[in-house]
Symmetry: C2
Subunit: 182 residues, 2 copies
């Protein structure tokens, strides 16, 4: 387990800028001394600060049980070059496989939650479940981001965006417009 991961704290007020563009993310959990990771695309910001994230973790996923039991996870944001690992994580279940070992992802201890950061991801958001009212209806968890990490110098990351059935968009050029929107 590497502890040499290059990371700095990102102010929580900027965390929304990582999730708002809709990247495919990896979600880690840890339960009974065992870490797991899944791929996710069904998430949205709910509030700027403290940053609240709503996300669907299907009860068919092995991660669902750990997330419900511990109330903790890490949302790790990968760049497109990790696409084969991301798809790999989506293709197998943590019930049978140690996906960190299988796909060469490096778990790194988080500061505030039991779930690990992923060293290969440019951003990692430590999260706690703060609202479970919609879990029964939609497997929808409300998470609060309690600490955000970013790789120094990660300014225009090439995130991956899922279009279904193995099809993904890679983030292209960045444009700037005079917006009053936060």
């Amino acid at each position: 387990m590497s502890t040499a991961m290059r990371k700095r704290t990102l102010p929580l007020s900027r965390a929304y800028r990582l999730l708002e563009p809709g990247p495919v993310v990896l979600v880690t959990t840890a339960s009974n001394g065992r870490a797991n990771v899944m791929a996710m695309s069904w998430q949205t910001m709910l509030e700027f600060e403290p940053p609240l994230v709503g996300c669907v973790v299907s009860n068919r996923n092995f991660s669902f049980t750990a997330l419900r039991a511990t109330g903790e996870c890490v949302i790790a944001i990968p760049e497109a070059r990790l696409a084969p690992k991301i798809v790999g994580c989506g293709n197998v279940s943590g019930r049978r496989v140690d996906k960190f070992a299988r796909f060469g992802l490096t778990p790194v201890p988080a500061a505030h939650v039991g779930a690990p950061l992923i060293a290969e991801c440019f951003a990692n958001l430590e999260c706690r479940v703060v609202d479970r009212r919609m879990v029964e209806s939609y497997n929808f968890f409300v998470l609060e981001v309690v600490h955000a990490w970013i790789r120094p110098g990660a300014t225009a990351p090439r995130t991956l965006h899922h279009r279904g059935r193995g099809s993904f968009i890679v983030a292209g050029r960045t444009i700037h417009l005079p917006s009053r929107m936060k």
Copy 2:
């Protein structure tokens, strides 16, 4: 008002593939004989079929009142070439301005809801509010997509993805990987 908009019905089972990559969307509403449009980036899929979408429409937005009153809206998905119009819609309030006229967006009657489609957008999702339990806490509405329209031939649309503070990513190249994920 143009009725020559080129559109075909998209099977509802494929609607998630439009929203899952996290594009900036436009949301139209109509109330008291007046249509309005806002920009939105805080949305997620909640279910494949019937397609359920969760989205945050702030109660500071003029659209909030119309959405709550009518329970209907259209999620229109623009390509990046509409960026100036999108940002324009985000910069002014429908309280004071007819944004369709101001930004040259063409409202087209929908089939099932009172809110209009937007002719310039490559996809339009007619939606009804089906769950309001999270409106008070997070301004979070659960919508069911009741009809999906797509422009014939729209295969790799250059969507826009909001990174905050006037910064946007334009959808880049598409890649395909052997995924078992839906």
